[in-house]
Symmetry: D2
Subunit: 320 residues, 4 copies
């Protein structure tokens, strides 16, 4: 009898999730597995939103944003009884394996299910690049391009008004989006959890930039760094000689069509996840380590410190 | 002796201003005029930021955002002595004609200068489409495309989270950006100065959309319509069944590369302005009326009510 | 009994066709009409590919490229018996009115049907902007933006290699795409049916540009102007001092998401077409004349010479 | 006395070259080196197109396409006397180190110079991803995104006409652009040097796709694979049931603004190259191996076979 494998997406949506769903389902079918799709994440297991999925189920989705399986908050999944019921629902269909596409929170849900006998594989997808066991998550590259394009757009209008644009980007508690996009845009200042100049330094830096006759200043700041970013903005207006405006990029960072790189990563991780199942390996999360596909027991992984971070901070320091 | 003509940009920057500057300077040179460029708007006249401009001055700028001539606030220009001094500065160079690229406020400054003997021509450029004497302003089309792309990006992520995205767009006191972009995106609700449903109606509409099993709702709202838009957001979360988030598009709406249509409009209006000077016509503002280039005395023009507004409201009503 | 109205797309696809389909069907339903959609153009009538269409039939299509109704060549429609059979097919469903979205060729098919008692309305949609009875067609604006972005992309790489890029654009027998995109991009030379310099002039112009130390040259040429464009390219390499390459933009010009302006135009024309039916007017084609919606008997319209052409040629001449 | 370091770009331009130039010059200055820029590649050394470069020399270039230093063919550099003269020119300025940004051919020129006493560092930049000593070249990621967006654009219009679009991409003799973009776009067939189905297989595959009622087919083919691609197109039209058109993406693949990933890679490799010089290491080329910055003696490197190729071919096979 065919192995029965289900797939769901969970947590914030990330560009490339659909490409990952497609890869999982198509390569599962290539192995002769029976494939299922679950809507609305873990809640969908509990509420039995489970459907059989064939090739055409994932036609024409590789380039689409969001997730065709949707995603939902489901705090009730902390409750062991709820998890147990969910596992029963999967067993009712004969589903033995579940592939979870999402971030750290999603891995916790997956891990809980694994204790109830469901074999799980985690695929890292979030724009924040903050998932254990991988150097790069699905969705990070696209979000980086979106931020970079936005900053490029703000450059000319900032120049026209002799303005300092303070651009707030996502990242949750991880500064990767700020650090990489700041490097990509050659901004004047990056403020992130990992690289956090004092207000005095910020003002001093911007003053010097203005004295050097720059036409504008660009500052990228990670979300959740300031209780009131507008206070900083006001100090910049008063003390540096620049006008200053805050731009919150918001959920635009989750939108659009996935980049080529995110689609390829999604394809590779999706196929790899199914290859592992075919080889009898489970309860792992997959990822990229040292530029190669790899997997680790989901019980053991902890947040990989970004191995390139020191190098990137050196780059930022040299090019500022 | 050659006619001496200067050009400046004023007010908020708009995509296509550079294309207009280029058209003015190149076509002026084609007539054998001596052309001047003024930096930082009316302040630049007062502070003598005036340079001679040749063909290469405007090379490779047609596709660039912002304005190479910059723009600046200069409230002192309400003072007659300041205007008089500015007119003297122009005369010092022998400049008899000034072409002002900007919005209504810029026209007022131009009109003030005209009383001191400077012959002026106004070219309408602002993303808000709220300038007297024209059906379309330079910059409006590009801003519309930028908003439309942003809303398209928010669509998928809104669906993934069963969310109502409330997207705030610019427009100053004019709803054109909201009405046109809302039509272009097929949003569920547009809230603008011209089309202002009550909070009850808004909630009712969104409730019905949710009951009809829509996966998301999209609402476009003009800036300056609500003292606290977050109150509306909270009501939506509580009463309609949708999650809700506010997205403020901000100055991204001023950024990027001008659309083909804005560049062509800038080229046409710039050449037309210089043609008028060559024909001895001045103290007018140029624009598009009934799809054709036209001009009116700057003293007499008042805001043209958008002639297509009723028709557009009919379209919105039929397609909602 | 409800009026029964069908809609089809025909000819080459144009961006915004889907927005027009949506507008037709939604506004028809708003009037209480029963709406039908026909697949694959006139062939679809003959082959009975006719379906009933409700609101959700056109959900989430406003931003999509191509046409959900598809389009097909059907030369057999020149045969009167075929047209008669098609009219019978429509009558079988009780369909009295047909809205045809397409170009001149599509109008001819529509006109043929009208002689068999079907009441028709034509909506102009083609990237070539060459349809009678309107100043602008649905799809033209987007194609213009696509070309403009492509030329902008070629600019830097042309500079890096001291190259003359010869960019071939569509347009069928109409030069509008070349003339407007050439103006929007500030290219060095436009070659179109309306503006056709001799080879000697072309070489001379490019030589002078090179002598003036330009880093690149950009030439836009309408399709179907040269039997062998490569011969011209070789002369440029040999005689002007520039390297030269031909870029054929191809069907990319039909792709992407429609511009805001094309979507709004599609919405306006679609609603207007249905308004006319509601008012008992038919056998007309709709369009924009003098910036306003208008309609003319389909039997009488001939190609409107673009009223802005002389003015545009003046702009091109002044800015070259 | 300050170390004197020069930088040039050579070969075909690649997106991100400017970001690499910026990184080299800024980080050189950070070390107190005196930095020089050379125009037009190796020819520029021979012709003494050498200028001193400060911070502002590289301002506002990080996002620009092409290369501000230009590039040129210079076959004369195969002549040892020419190389010797070039080395003398560099020594005249006191330049001891040269950083060469380009592809394999550029490395050969650099190696020749190293035999004349110039210490060189190679930085890999080409859209083709075919440079020895690195897994990824600067410019590859952007080209991949450009191709991916183009294929997405062709998708809808192909569907509208029931068409097989045959899209020719660059790559020189390396199939990476075809293989990665084909994976990213989920195309029906990829034809590259590494993955070369017979004509019979191609026709068979497309026939089956048509029989499965697909609305379109997408085929990506590497350049230089067919003497006459149009013959294949004609067979497809005759034998598969699809209409078929060829789209040659051409130099658009070199245009645009570099992706975030290419800009970050350029920054990292540029800083790393200068770090090596500061540490007394030279005559190496830098690159990314196993996801980490690394360098190898330029004399010894040979083309690294893409270590991910087998894995990628597995992905393509599973998802076809």
């Amino acid at each position: 009898m065919a192995v029965k494998v289900a797939v769901l997406t969970s947590g914030g949506d990330a560009l490339g999730m659909n490409a990952a769903i497609r890869a999982v389902i198509r390569s599962g079918l290539a192995y002769g597995f029976q494939m299922f799709a679950i809507f609305e994440g873990f809640r969908g297991i509990f509420e039995n939103k489970i459907v059989s999925a064939d090739r055409t189920f994932v036609s024409e989705i590789i380039m689409r944003g969001g997730t065709i399986l949707k995603t939902a908050r489901f705090p009730e999944f902390h409750d062991n009884d709820v998890v147990s019921k969910a596992a029963d629902n999967l067993r009712f269909y004969g589903i033995t394996h579940l592939i979870v596409i999402g971030g750290d929170g999603s891995y916790r849900g997956a891990f809980a299910l694994s204790k109830h006998g469901i074999k799980i594989i985690g695929i890292p997808a979030t724009i924040d690049n903050d998932v254990m066991g991988t150097e790069q998550t699905i969705g990070f590259d696209t979000a980086l391009n979106t931020i970079t394009e936005a900053v490029d757009k703000l450059r000319d209008t900032s120049s026209s008004h002799h303005r300092c644009s303070i651009i707030e980007v996502m990242g949750n508690r991880c500064g990767d989006l700020a650090l990489y996009s700041g490097t990509a845009c050659g901004v004047d200042l990056i403020i992130s959890p990992e690289y956090r100049p004092s207000e005095e330094e910020i003002i001093e830096t911007l003053k010097n930039i203005n004295l050097n006759r720059a036409r504008h200043a660009l500052v990228i700041v990670s979300e959740k760094q300031y209780e009131n970013l507008d206070d900083l903005r006001k100090r910049i207006v008063t003390e540096t000689g620049f006008d200053a405006k805050i731009e919150v990029l918001g959920r635009l960072q989750r939108g659009g069509s996935p980049s080529a790189s995110d689609r390829v990563l999604a394809g590779r991780l999706g196929v790899y996840a199914v290859d592992l199942i075919a080889n009898g390996i489970d309860n792992v999360c997959v990822g990229v380590i040292n530029g190669r596909l790899s997997h680790q027991p989901i019980a053991e992984v902890t947040k990989t410190t970004n191995p390139n971070l020191d190098e990137l901070l050196n780059v930022i320091d040299k090019l500022k």
